[in-house]
Amino acid sequence: MTLTGFVIATVIKILVVLGVISALAGFGTYIERKVLAFMQRRLGPMHVGPYGVLQVAADGIKLFTKEDIVPQNSVKPIFKIAPIIGAATAFIALAAVPLLPEFEIFGVTVHPIIADINVGVLFVLGVMASGLFAPLLAGMASSNKWGLLGAARTAIQLLSYEVVTGLSILAPLMMVGSLSLIDINNYQAGGFTDWIVWSQPVAFILFLIAGFAETNRTPFDLLEHEAEIVAGYATEYSGMRWGMFFIGEYANMITLGFLASLIFLGGFNDWGFIPGALAIILKVSFIFFFFLWTRAAWPHVRPDQLMWLCWKVLMPIAVINVVVTGIVLMM
């Protein structure tokens, strides 16, 4: 492929991913409200459009047209940049994720991955982790005690789960021997029984738990713990600045769904009679649903409980898992 063609193809891919994932992130809020409502025997949004489908559009209009408030004593440049970090890192992380299997359109073979780099997993996890700067800076810059508490809890959360994420993903990487997500996917090409989740169930559970913490989802929703601190880091935010944090959060959830499917659940390989593209969409949808499911079912934890869990329980288990995997691989 010529350089010009490569650039054009990449730009198109970027635009498609940006458009589709941000639309899905918006739609995710609707799905979340509906699923939570049904699980709590309510109806959820019902009035805008049939079954409230147009609620997404109404929310979007509201977010775009709401007054943009920057508090007087805040550190204004940082306050303004923080939501951009949140949304940008979430989308940058998607750059190294193969979203679908290769397919042909108009006689051109399309690789649905923006940048096929050979350190894909590291890149995605690193960028997602740096996304935690968004709530950290937002909370510290907004000159608000709840914001500051939210920022402090961001630091606690980052310290807690980051080690577990890395260690839990280490064991499957040792089996595959590559950091590229496409290689990891191809490793599981043999079908249902080849999925890494069967040989690494502990790593899968640890990765999911750490992923919940990474995306600020409810059991570890310390940053924005409505019950304890008033909206945490996002207290002072309004309008689209607030909306960007949440687009980032939902995009992160989608990214994490892709990561878990690619590394543990067979990725975009064909699954029986289901073609690969549909298979990975089903898997990501299930993990997204699982995020919402746990939000309805499980209680919050306290910051000290999260630290206790991550450092005293999950990290030793992850280390043991890595050691056992190493011993098994050597034999």
């Binding site: 699923v35 049904f38 699980m39 709590q40 025997r41 309510r42 109806l43 019902m46 499911w293 746990t294 309805a296 079912a297 499980w298 329980v313």
Partner: protein
């Protein structure tokens, strides 16, 4: 929800006592507790419960402005003044019992004799700023002229707007269409009132 369910006040409180274990102090006991809690599967019970409720789709939402729960017939909301069904005259005979019994002192009426030397009510006001909705006025009224209505959704600039005499009195066209239903709520005669009445000596 049917009216019978709504009126059933004998709701049993299903409180259950959750036994809380003693906090372990020994490291081994702590480890045992962690293991017990880890493998107990309570989290999955929670997941199953919410999933079951989602699949059952047993929604308890009341779409409020379109759909309303029945309120109890004995509910005491803003007052109403009734008219006689046959003639359309006000039932109120200006006896002043409601004014007298009102413990919040919020009812005030002015009466005078009209040209037929019958008592006529010229002013009738209820101060909703003072009214405690005790229902004594409706209970004491010998003519069933003042009753407590069912109107509970009120919005106005002033509370007085709900109890202007023209508003709480049944409108004449409303009466002609037969829409003034005999009140079975607070202050109404009981359904078996006829059986309970004893004959007075003059009837013998």
């Amino acid at each position: 929800m049917s009216l019978e369910q709504f009126k059933d006040r004998n709701v049993k409180q299903n409180y259950t006592f959750i036994p809380v274990d003693e906090r372990p102090t020994e490291p081994l006991d702590k480890f045992k507790q962690v293991m017990k809690r880890t493998f107990k599967g309570e989290l999955f019970v929670g997941l199953w419960v919410v999933f079951r409720e989602m699949v059952r789709f047993n929604i308890h939402t009341v779409k409020y402005p379109m759909e309303k729960l029945p309120i109890s017939p004995r509910y005491r909301a803003v007052h109403k003044l009734y008219r006689l069904l046959e003639s359309g005259n006000e039932r109120c005979i200006g006896c002043g019992l409601c004014e007298k019994i009102c413990i919040a002192n919020c009812i005030r009426m002015d009466t005078r004799y009209d040209e037929n030397q019958r008592k006529e009510v010229t002013e009738y006001t209820i101060n909703l700023g003072r009214c405690i909705f005790c229902g004594y006025c409706a209970e004491v009224c010998p003519e069933l002229a003042i009753v407590h209505g069912q109107r509970y959704e009120n919005a106005s600039e002033q509370r007085a707007h709900f109890v202007l005499r023209d508003d709480i009195l049944t409108p004449l066209d409303f009466l002609k269409e037969g829409k003034q239903q005999e009140f079975d709520g607070f202050g109404a005669v009981s359904p078996n009132a006829d059986e309970r009445i004893k004959k007075t000596p003059t009837a013998y």
